[in-house]
């Protein structure tokens, strides 16, 4: 929300606006909800410019031989088969396969927590109440009590989604998911093999992991490079230059035992 008020850290301070409205449905349960984006990217946003005149570029469809621009409305889409046949799809074809509009967020089944692995996850949305406050609170209490997560399906702005319905911070969240076949499972791959590992080296590695152990505190990690980029922009705006830090790629470790021993020694010292 670029038009929202921002505090010093760039966080949006205004109450967020709902991006969509729907209703959680299963059996004879129906709870109307509002969708809110749960992710707010903090990336430094650049635009692509024509170097010569510093004008933001636009995208266009062009004829590759002449470079002539073809208006978007005149362009069609085509599917290319393995046999190099191009099947042109017109507006009627595309409309015919569009999903039906609906406000229903259908819960297909409920599952124990984390059966839907996080590798399926795409984007989380918070669900807020849309009128029926009591039903909304009852849904949260029931989800909490059962400890289950829901597999959901819905159509939002002409796009079909599947999602995971779960609680986060005491409120319902719907995380959109990747579709079947889009996650490559570890079981499909073969792990690197070789001679049996040295037991002493494994012990040392485990010891080192133990010494570096801590709980996961997300707030401990800052995007420091973001601040460096904003500094650079400010410097250049005032006519200054970037401070170049030379980069030399370190060499891979040759003697594993020696490196592990030295690491343990170093950690003990700093502990």
């Amino acid at each position: 929300m670029s038009n929202g008020m921002r505090d010093k850290t760039g966080r949006c301070t205004m109450t967020a606006r709902a991006m969509w409205k729907g209703a959680i449905c299963f059996a004879d349960v129906r709870v109307p909800v509002k969708f809110f984006a749960a992710v707010a990217s903090q990336d430094v946003h650049f635009r692509l410019l024509h170097a010569k005149d510093r004008v933001p570029v636009k995208q266009a469809m062009v004829k590759p031989d002449s470079g002539d621009i073809v208006p978007y409305a005149e362009a069609r889409r085509a599917f290319v088969t393995d046999e190099r046949d191009w099947v042109v799809l017109n507006d009627a074809d595309l409309q015919a396969v569009e999903p039906e509009e609906s406000r229903d967020v259908e819960i297909l089944e409920f599952l124990p927590p984390r059966v839907i692995d996080h590798r399926w996850y795409l984007r989380p949305y918070y669900l807020g109440p849309d009128g029926a406050d009591k039903a909304y609170a009852a849904l949260i209490a029931a989800l909490d009590e059962s400890g289950q997560e829901g597999l959901a399906r819905w159509t939002m702005r002409k796009q079909e989604y599947i999602g995971a319905l779960r609680l986060h911070g005491g409120y319902p969240v719907l995380v959109s998911l990747r579709h079947a076949g889009e996650v490559i499972s570890v079981e499909e791959l073969e792990a690197p093999g070789g001679r049996e590992l040295d037991k002493r080296e494994i012990d040392m590695a485990k010891q080192l992991i133990g010494m570096l152990e801590a709980p996961f505190e997300p707030a401990d990690y800052r995007n420091e490079h973001r601040a460096r980029i904003l500094d650079l922009i400010e410097t250049k705006r005032r006519g200054g230059k970037a401070k170049i830090i030379p980069f030399k790629r370190p060499k891979p470790t040759q003697d594993l035992s020696k490196a592990l021993e030295a690491s343990l020694k170093q950690e003990r010292k700093s502990a």
Partner: protein
């Protein structure tokens, strides 16, 4: 045509799945482990090309609205808008050059219980493959992390952008999963979600009962199918059979198009991954051209079930030893069951 040749080369280097997302160093204490990151997800979206009214392929290009002409890649720069229509131009090399060298490594200074990371933080996953000569430290780290159930956490600047990364280990394979920074994930407070009303005990019981009735033990992957893609492919098949709006090998079929690259998979991702894991780094080059498998959206795809899908079914059928089976072994075991 030399120009066309140049374009084809450019398209080659952009092919997804072929090049690692990143190659660099994992630092574990004083151990330096060179690795490459390969995507662990693939898009099954049906990729469509743009054509004009006569079915002639078009290219999506950037153009300058002032000069009204398409631009070449070397005519385009990145700018940050400091005031309306006022840009500070920043080069890609500058974004890397301002990062201290240590920030451009995955320096594992902290290990956390792997189950402690709230799944909401995960954004996307990469497989780690050891680079040449790094197989032993790779296996050592994978084994120690898996045995202790720990995940390593670090930040790393990759191509001018800082990422929060969790290194996870399972089945002897390391994964790098990009996490969201804490300030990128809003809290219910940020959204302004209201305090909860006191629910009706009877209403809660009723919903709980409905949840219980709809409960299953395992995820039904079939329910996660991309229904829109399936309908679109069906429509394509119908038109193909009827010979309606079908053009065979139009001229300029090799035209570059940034958009068309997304979602397509000209290389066999699995072959690249397998080779990189087995051979420690040199594998990616060995299997450059696609080895097997139709392109996504190809008509023969429906018949093939991935190992993932077969595994899910084997899980449901409780077939013993399933986690160690290959795709074909799983298919056989399911048939025999």
């Amino acid at each position: 045509m030399p120009r066309k040749h140049h374009h084809r080369e450019a398209a080659e280097s952009r092919r997804p799945g072929l090049r690692p997302f990143w190659s660099g160093i994992i630092a574990f204490g004083l151990v330096s482990l060179p690795v490459s990151l390969y995507v662990a997800t693939r898009s099954n979206k049906v990729s469509l090309r743009m054509v004009d009214a006569d079915g002639e392929p078009l290219a999506r290009r950037y153009f300058c609205p002032n000069e009204e002409r398409p631009l070449e890649a070397d005519e385009i720069v990145r700018g940050y808008e400091v005031e309306k229509d006022q840009f500070v131009v920043v080069g890609n090399d500058e974004l890397d050059a301002i990062a201290p060298p240590k920030s451009q490594e995955i320096d594992l200074r902290r290990f956390v219980p792997a189950g402690d990371i709230d799944p909401m933080y995960f954004e996307r996953a990469y497989f780690l493959a050891p680079d040449k000569g790094a197989t032993k430290p790779y296996r050592l780290l994978a084994k120690s992390m898996e045995d202790t159930g720990r995940a390593g956490i670090a930040t790393c600047v990759i191509r001018g952008k800082e990422y929060l990364i969790a290194i996870l280990s399972s089945h002897g394979i390391l994964r790098a999963e990009i996490l969201r920074f804490a300030d990128e994930l809003r809290t219910p407070d940020d959204i302004g979600l209201p305090e909860l009303a006191k629910p009706d005990a009877a209403a809660v019981k009723k919903i709980e009962k409905a949840i219980k009735a709809g409960s299953r033990k395992t995820l039904d992957i079939d329910k996660m199918a991309d229904a829109h893609a399936q309908r679109l492919l069906k429509r394509v098949d119908e038109k193909l059979k009827a010979g309606e709006d079908v053009i065979h090998e139009p001229a300029y079929a090799e035209v570059e198009d940034d958009e068309a690259q997304e979602g397509t998979e000209p290389v066999d991702l699995m072959a690249v991954l397998k080779a990189s894991l087995e051979q420690g780094g040199d594998g990616a080059r060995a299997s450059k051209r696609k080895a097997a498998g139709p392109r996504p959206g190809g008509r023969s795809r429906k018949a093939d079930r991935s190992r993932d899908e077969l595994y899910q079914q084997a899980q449901k059928m409780d077939i013993p030893g399933r986690s160690k089976m290959t795709r074909d072994e799983l298919a056989r075991a399911i048939r025999r069951h």
